[in-house]
Symmetry: C3
Subunit: 343 residues, 3 copies
């Protein structure tokens, strides 16, 4: 594929400086880019690398102009890069139809232009929207609803009655709608609490590989519009994740916790059950959240505290031996003072 | 489905107060319940919510009587709720038989009333008990034994020679009997130690989604009766989990560790190898266990200490900056005292 | 199977003491071994157990001779044990051919002596080396390359264009080549950054069950020769893992981090993105790595510090209440001194 620099500038709505007819064959990082490729500079920190780069053109933020080659100014060079990468890598979807080697249940409603690969299982009474793709090894239970343009990678499991929106992407190995972990102690062992709820995943959600999104005990576990979940994440029964929230790999969220909008939980965070995490909260990697968090706070640590305080504490902890020496020294000096005063 | 309040009272062996003929159509939480549904109050903390609830009847603990509607007194309202939920949600199992699209090996012993779905693989010489359910995408290796009434969800893998008891439930994506992680350094790289043991899972065990239960190097990895394991849990080779032990999501237990009965490991706990965790031990979320723990103890933290001490330490750590100020202040005051005494 | 002690001694290149004709039927741990089996002693710590063992012969390190039965001296008894275990447990591979129930795409190059089981999916233009084994439920995408003697367990997913070397072992449920987690904020939601790179796995790598190895945004995520990865490990886009590095269960490594050779990351470690972890680094369990680490260091804690310092800090933290009491006592004594001096 080949685009002119002018085409790229209008694709990202950027301000072009240089030859609009320059041919660009691809996009790459500053170090990898060749002279027919475009690269990008997210900020002043990368100016030196930009000068050393062999890229034929650059996307730069406003203010960065001394670049010695054609460039496009963009308010958000990273986003512009993503859009150009999409332009160059896009392959039109060619619907496969329904493979005769797929197992389709009774009374399944199939939308237009499906791609249902071999070795797929779809249960009875399930409703698939238009342009749904189910790769080989995908299991979709009975009574499931899947919206238009949703893409499900190989070996994903979606269990009975779950509801999945439009333009959702689910990566391989993820399990949607497994039983929530609920057992009532009866004195000597445990009685399984039936998990009769569902999982509802709204439009434009993306879920990584080998995640587990449990169905609700009653009602629904609810992943709201635009949520992005990385790999190996655990979402327990009746959890709610608010719009555009970001969950990094290996996070675990316990039952009935409600997470707000635009929250970021960094990798390996653990959240206790029945909490409320407010909108725009940011939680540092490996933190342990055992209390609800008001909107807008940044917290870190296990148990988590305000991020600023956590940084201070980490600093002090790294100097605890020194602090202990100071205390021992003080003890000695105070004892000497006491003795001096006594005599 | 519809039950009378009297039927429900005898189903949970509770003491009925009110109209035995009242029709109940379902069970729900206090906030969701409608006037034909029953709800439950686990303790005095929920009395206000109970008063506000539209539920037509309530299950309450002994002593809570001022409820202004029909109620059933139960010593364990949570268990009673679970039992009624089971009553209302129960669907009789309809055996599917063996799908012609399942791949069944040679010399497989099939029990009565099987449900072997399409796209299942069962290896040679495997023995399946009565009323076993294997959903689509399940892989069962060669020489495996699976007990009566065991239910295996889609895309589970059970590898060769593993032994699974009766009434076991295994959720999607879980791998039983992968190789333990064993390598002997030979000076420049690693020699793979064959993992020739098995996994044995006893009766009434439930294992969540996307767990990994490794086979033993020699002998067996052993999950004993009644153990309940949440999602994304790692159980390494030769681990033993004692009866009715509870393992919450994302816990990892290293090789050859022996966990006692009725233990609770909360979410994201890590346990080093070759340890003994005594009966009735409780471990707080995200703790790191590097030493054996005597029976009955509650521990938390990484490295873990007695839970009570951990709470104290967390409190002190959250005030470390204050403590440091105090120390600096003391240094100054002691220096002044020394100077005063000198002069 | 039956071997003579003499055969075993030459198999492990050890020094035989005792009857070379002694028949040995297997290998087992000191406690489990029967009188026709051989066991092993890794060091002086196990001498008592060795004396109590019923094993008919022992592998011992140099210097341990007072063993009261035939023995073989080996510089590395653990490695010798692994080699003998392999000798006794080895089963010759019998190629299955290509099952008619496997789904093989167009233009697939199949090597000699394949074992392609039922319910396998192989995409178009994929190249399989000689003696490749793909178990039931394995998904291999289009344009994938898999080297000679590679073994892929059931329900593994390898997505388009990934490259896998020779003698690689991938355990069940693992996903190779899922999209990296990359989203560019556009002010109100997130724009998906296409992940157009691949995963390259070099020769002699072993990857555990239910791991996730993401494809690169551009370029490759690269697992180099001899790396061994345990279960449930997350390797993000563009990560490089150097030769013979060991990653224990539930570790997560964020995007673009480069890990050197012979590194050991213990269980549940988390590593931030864009770091460099030098050769021979050792990281303690549950540590959080937020800064690059020079070669050869041992670190622990979250955030991680030198392992030695971490041990000291843990000791002090476990005595924080005592330290606080000392400080309070000092405050009182200093106040008394001040008063005494005042008066």
């Amino acid at each position: 594929m080949e685009k002119t620099l002018g085409e790229l500038a209008s694709w990202i709505a950027g301000e072009l400086h240089g030859d609009a007819q320059l041919k660009i064959t691809g996009v790459a990082g500053l170090e990898e880019a060749r002279h027919t490729e475009i690269s990008f500079v997210v900020g002043p920190k990368y100016v030196r690398k930009a000068h050393e780069s062999r890229a034929g053109a650059l996307i730069v933020p406003p203010g960065l102009r001394d670049i010695e080659r054609p460039f496009i100014v963009s308010d958000n060079p990273y986003l512009a890069f993503a859009k150009i990468l999409k332009l160059f890598s896009h392959k039109p979807r060619v619907p496969l139809g329904v493979s005769p080697k797929a197992n389709i249940g009774e009374n399944v409603q199939m939308g237009d232009e499906p791609s249902i690969h071999p070795l797929v299982f779809v249960g009875d009474n399930t409703v698939l929207g238009d342009r749904v793709t189910l790769h080989a090894g995908v299991y979709v239970g009975a009574g499931v609803q899947i919206g238009d343009d949703t893409l499900i990678y190989p070996n994903v499991t979606v269990l009975d009655r779950c509801i999945i929106g439009k333009r959702v992407i689910i990566h391989s190995g993820t399990v949607v709608g497994g039983d929530g972990f609920g057992f009532a102690p009866d004195g000597h062992s445990y009685f399984k609490i039936p998990q009769v709820g569902i999982v509802q995943i709204d439009d434009d959600v993306e879920i990584g590989a080998n995640c587990t999104i449990d169905r609700a005990t009653m009602g629904k576990t609810w992943i709201q519009r635009g949520v992005k979940i990385d790999n190996l994440v655990q979402v327990a029964h009746n959890v709610v994740l608010g719009e555009n929230t970001i969950i990094i790999a290996q996070v675990g969220i316990s039952g009935s916790t409600v997470v707000g909008k635009n929250v970021i939980l960094a990798g390996q965070v653990g959240v206790t059950g029945h909490l409320e995490i407010g909108d725009n909260v940011r939680v540092g990697a490996q933190s342990g959240i055992a209390k609800s968090i008001p909107p807008g706070q940044s917290v870190s640590g296990s148990p988590a505290i305000a991020h600023r305080d956590w940084l201070k504490n980490c600093h002090i902890i790294s100097r605890l031996p020194e602090l202990r020496r100071t205390i021992r020294d003080l003890e000695k000096r105070v004892a000497e003072l006491e003795q001096a005063l006594d005599s």
